[in-house]
């Protein structure tokens, strides 16, 4: 397990020195900020720009605080996911491709440590980014639209965190399995495309990792169906564990593909 600490340190240095630890949180904070602000000031903005007929000004809907927070999550569900996928798609595959992995693989490291060191660092960055962004959004929503109880917010953000971990694990497992391009494509399919399919056809089932984000938003307006909610969380955690196991074994199997 000592190699886990050493490799974790290496990953941490990498993400510090390539500034991922800075720009990824900034993207999430930006949307956490811009969503409440633009929703609030949209009428004024449009008014200032002009060309809006007087009567249309009354057609703007009034947002509830929870709608604004959901809209923030809606941004994360698309742009945030893109950032996570594109930012971390090469985490493992790139080390094989450019040969930097070779000098790691010839040492007596365990591939469990190898995969988990990356999973932990990427997980920390992703979760910290999402929480910082959501907290920002929560604060400004509270200032501009009305407050959301802290317990509702924590249940919402906590549930959403499970989904984020699921996404991050998908990206890393794909990166362990495929070259960078393939890892990105398949991650995009698994995260964005399957989500659309799940929401279109998903009325037939209620338990799915792709429904976790929907259940997260339900904490803001009431509470999700307890049984469906916990089953989905359970299934998602199982899927994360399975993906980690898959990622570890793929890292090991593909180590021989590293450039020598």
């Amino acid at each position: 397990m000592r190699d886990l600490i050493v490799l974790f340190q290496k990953e941490w240095r990498e993400n510090t020195r390539n500034f991922k630890i800075l720009w990824i949180p900034l993207v999430f904070i930006f949307f956490g900020l811009s969503e409440p602000l633009t929703s609030y000031y949209l009428p004024q903005i449009l008014n200032a720009v002009g060309n809006i007929p007087e009567e249309a000004m009354f057609a703007f809907p009034e947002f509830t605080p929870s709608q604004v927070l959901m809209a923030t999550m809606g941004q994360y569900q698309f742009i945030g996911m893109l950032v996570l996928i594109l930012g971390f798609m090469g985490t493992i595959s790139r080390e094989r491709k450019n040969g930097t992995g070779t000098l790691l693989y010839v040492r007596p490291i365990s591939y469990v440590s190898y995969f988990l060191s990356k999973w932990k660092v990427v997980g920390i960055i992703a979760l910290a980014s999402v929480w910082l962004g959501l907290l920002t959004s929560w604060y400004y929503t509270g200032q501009l639209f009305g407050s959301i109880p802290a317990t509702d917010f924590l249940a919402f953000a906590g549930t959403y965190s499970v989904w984020i971990l699921f996404v991050v694990t998908i990206v890393l497992a794909m990166s362990a399995w495929l070259p960078t391009g393939g890892a990105a494509s398949l991650s995009l399919v698994l995260v964005l495309f399957v989500q659309i399919v799940d929401s279109l056809l998903g009325t037939y089932w209620t338990i799915s990792p792709w429904k976790v984000s929907t259940y997260a938003t339900q904490w803001l307006t009431g509470s999700p169906d307890t049984s469906d909610f916990w089953w989905s969380i359970g299934v998602t955690i199982l899927a994360i564990v399975a993906l980690v196991v898959f990622g570890v074994s793929m890292s090991k199997r593909n180590a021989s593909k590293t450039k020598v």
């Binding site: 240095r13 040969g99 000098l103 490291i109």
Partner: protein, 300 residues
């Protein structure tokens, strides 16, 4: 001396292609072995298998007589083009390498520093590896391969990409390491092989076509010969017909190789003297490793 590593029927097949075909060899403890062969002979594949990066399709590798050991604990490996994490400094990288090979945190740092100074990177300890030149990378690659004091050092073309000065320096470093480590290195530069070798392994199209000490291989392939240069092709031809030994004439300028049934030098000189031909030069030759290489590499 005892066997440190033994390769038994080592084979790697890609699809239907035999990259490495039934290699058998032994690396004795404390020796240096050169793996020689033309490009594509399977040198890198062989080293990758020994380093534990590639799984042999067939055959086995045993270390200290143990077959299923994790060889990675006992080896240091320098790939032909070592790639480093550009955002780490030389010291950070070497220290990480030492720790991942099982060294204690404190001694890892100390050894990393000492090793980097040993390979001549004492000035660049805190420089990012991304800024390193080719020669510096090769030194750093050597440092990370030896920092944990491995029993077996595997080097893939350690000096091929270097300029003559760098090559000289790295060869000297390797020679000083030879006292404490068993070394296996691949090369296609034969002068280097000639300089530091207890055993030669000749690879050709994945097969081990020749092995032995440099003396053995020489004795086998080097048929010493006389080379006599005449003033004209005419004279050469005359001599080849008159001489009691088999003489091969090469070209019209009058080069002659006496290949078989080595006569005594004095006999030959006597005959040359009596012939009254125009003789420019007469010498006894031994084949360079290069010529042996061409012979071994070219054999059908």
């Amino acid at each position: 001396m005892s066997a440190l590593l033994e390769a038994n029927q080592l084979t790697k097949i890609y699809g239907k292609e035999y990259a490495v075909n039934q290699l058998n060899f032994v690396l004795e403890e404390g020796t240096a072995t050169a793996l020689i062969g033309p490009n594509g002979a399977g040198k890198t594949t062989t080293l990758s298998m020994l380093a534990g990066l590639l799984k042999p399709t067939q055959g086995s590798i045993s270390l200290n007589g143990e077959q299923r050991a994790d060889v990675r604990e006992s080896i240091g490996f320098l790939p032909q083009y070592p790639q480093f994490f550009s955002w780490l400094t030389a010291l950070e990288f070497t220290e990480m390498a030492a720790k991942l090979s099982g060294m204690e945190t404190r001694s890892a740092k100390l050894e990393a520093q000492k090793t980097l100074e040993f390979v001549g990177l004492g000035e660049a300890l805190r420089k990012k590896t991304g800024t390193f030149s080719g020669g510096m990378k090769q030194r750093l690659g050597l440092a990370q391969a030896i920092v944990h004091r491995p029993k077996l050092l595997l080097l893939d073309e350690p000096v091929s990409a270097l300029d003559p000065v760098g090559r000289r320096e790295i060869m000297n470093l390797l020679k000083s390491l030879q006292q404490n480590m068993t070394i296996l290195y691949s090369t296609h530069i034969l002068n280097d092989a000639e300089e530091m070798t207890d055993q030669l392994l000749f690879l050709r199209k994945g097969r081990l076509v020749e092995k032995g000490s440099i003396g053995d291989v020489r004795a086998k392939y080097d048929h010493p010969r006389y080379r006599v240069e005449f003033g004209s092709a005419e004279d050469a031809k005359t001599f080849s017909l008159a001489a009691p030994w088999h003489v091969a004439v090469e070209g019209t300028i009058g080069f002659i190789d006496i290949i078989q049934d080595m006569p005594v030098m004095s006999d030959m000189l006597k005959l040359l003297g009596e012939s009254g031909l125009d003789i420019r030069k007469a010498e006894r030759q031994t084949a360079s490793l290069e010529e042996i290489f061409m012979k071994v590499a070219g054999q059908a």
